[in-house]
Symmetry: C2
Subunit: 361 residues, 2 copies
Amino acid sequence: MSAPNGVRVLLDAFLSGKRAALARAMSIVEDSRPECDELLAALHSRFGRGRRIGITGPPGAGKSTLTTLLVKQFREQGLQVGIVAVDPTSPFTGGALLGDRVRMESVALDPGVFIRSMATRGSLGGLAGTTRELCDVLDAFGMDRILIETVGVGQSELEITQTADQSVVVLVPESGDSIQTMKAGLMEIADIFVVNKADRPGADRVKSDIEVMLGLRGGHALGGDPAHHGVDLKNLRRIANPGKAARNAMANPEAAAWTPAVIQSIGTTGQGVSDLASALERHFAYLERSGTLAVRRRTRLRQRVVDVVEERVRRRLWMDAPTNAWLDGQMPKVESGEATPFAIADALLARSGSLLTGDRR
Amino acid sequence: MSAPNGVRVLLDAFLSGKRAALARAMSIVEDSRPECDELLAALHSRFGRGRRIGITGPPGAGKSTLTTLLVKQFREQGLQVGIVAVDPTSPFTGGALLGDRVRMESVALDPGVFIRSMATRGSLGGLAGTTRELCDVLDAFGMDRILIETVGVGQSELEITQTADQSVVVLVPESGDSIQTMKAGLMEIADIFVVNKADRPGADRVKSDIEVMLGLRGGHALGGDPAHHGVDLKNLRRIANPGKAARNAMANPEAAAWTPAVIQSIGTTGQGVSDLASALERHFAYLERSGTLAVRRRTRLRQRVVDVVEERVRRRLWMDAPTNAWLDGQMPKVESGEATPFAIADALLARSGSLLTGDRR
């Protein structure tokens, strides 16, 4: 890649469908190598054909198994599938991840499937940015479905949602008690809920709790005191509705709003996976019909420009030796209390005009 | 606060030690209200006296109980204590948090203690920034010890570590199996390890696993096959050492390196808490003696300036109506593939010189 036409050679192989070139392009983007921008710019006009499906949920919910089963369904339809598995590893979580990946091996040898697993640690912004761009590369390669699988820990699942066209939240019967704590967050994220491991006790209750939360069932229909179900109905509805309503209104007020599907599945037997596949199909038809797809993609693309601008600013400022030397020279004043970080920041920006606009590089 | 001298009035009350003024200042900073910069600038020369102690660990490790006990120790020494409890709430975690806060109530009524609890959801960068600045406010108010308690989920604990002078990682006997997955992350973070709930089975093994990981014990001394302990010794040492070594070398190569203390505690009886307090004391003495404290604080302050610069850039660009209108006007070209996000980003920066330098506002 050090040759001046390295990207061009790679692109030729990529565009003629060589998997080795796809793998190499993915690595360039994942590692943010210098040729990354050139590569993405060259592929830019080929984005937007694949459907991006986010799959998130707590550790141990069976996301990888479901993803694998879903991939098999897509493959039976003759679709090409790309998978980005994101593990925002915490020092305190992440034990089962290796096992998950091993389970996914059953589809990894299929030439119509490409899997990239990222065990990322570090800046979260970087994680989301890279994920989005990895999806772009898979999209440009011609993948019909792009699955983004991520463990729901911290803010990551929200960011991944911003990356996907459709988002699936996978829960298990044991999630029942925490549905109240999840409430608003989940409502913002999920287009489709899957209650996996539905052969375990509590699966029906979790499903009906979610339906109550979505306003699909009254608390009364549940036949009891709502508090008994561990869900604060009034509060949940109040929190849940504005986001959805606003999102739908933004797209097309005429279109009927999407009501998240709630599906039960059993990963070990494959039960419910075809329900999930058809719910994804129905939801995608809604996205197109309502104009929501166009809005989501426009929003994502605009955010991409914003991110590139901020990345450029950071690179131009903090990789500039004179600027760093100047800042180092100011630090004793900041440490002594003589100058504030705010004053130094203003002075730094005041002297960085041509650096920021790109006139001096 | 709408009066032009609102901050001045607040500062007078703050500097004369009024708790209501402290609470108000904390809220201004937490919510990033407009007067936030002015307030922090006015307090800037008063930072740097309190010791900042980060306490992190998995959910359910007993961090709040330990924090409460530690606060009581500090209070017996006549020290003023501030606490910032950060909960980076995930939709999938966070169930026990309320209970933790209630437990902390036993010190909350003490006038020498100030607690601010943040259940933050959203941008992680914002979380770390605000935490650091809340600590600054507590520091300026005259708190001798500032405890930052955070659940270890995702990247947050690393960022909190950058905020603290000293970092305590709380584990439990059940953490044993996951020590291998934690390895490098924990090594970077912890100045002191606490194995809490040490009356449960496995506490001694977790302690010795940590000591092996730290190179305090050979695998041989454990009397068995290292694999038997679920810890890949060679790999752990390789990963663990460079970071520590580099950090120490940065400070003062002459000073003996700090070897993390490993303490056992029982939150319910208070056993081990005085060990923790004296380990913190020994570690702080090391920080001062070795010059590491000065390095950590200088690094933190420089990062603060960098953050303020980037925040100013974001505000100047994205709160500027003409810039947003211009970007909106470019989006159709980006959507059609006619222009790339990179080209538009460059063009945006090229036209934003006076905006970024602050000449036009």
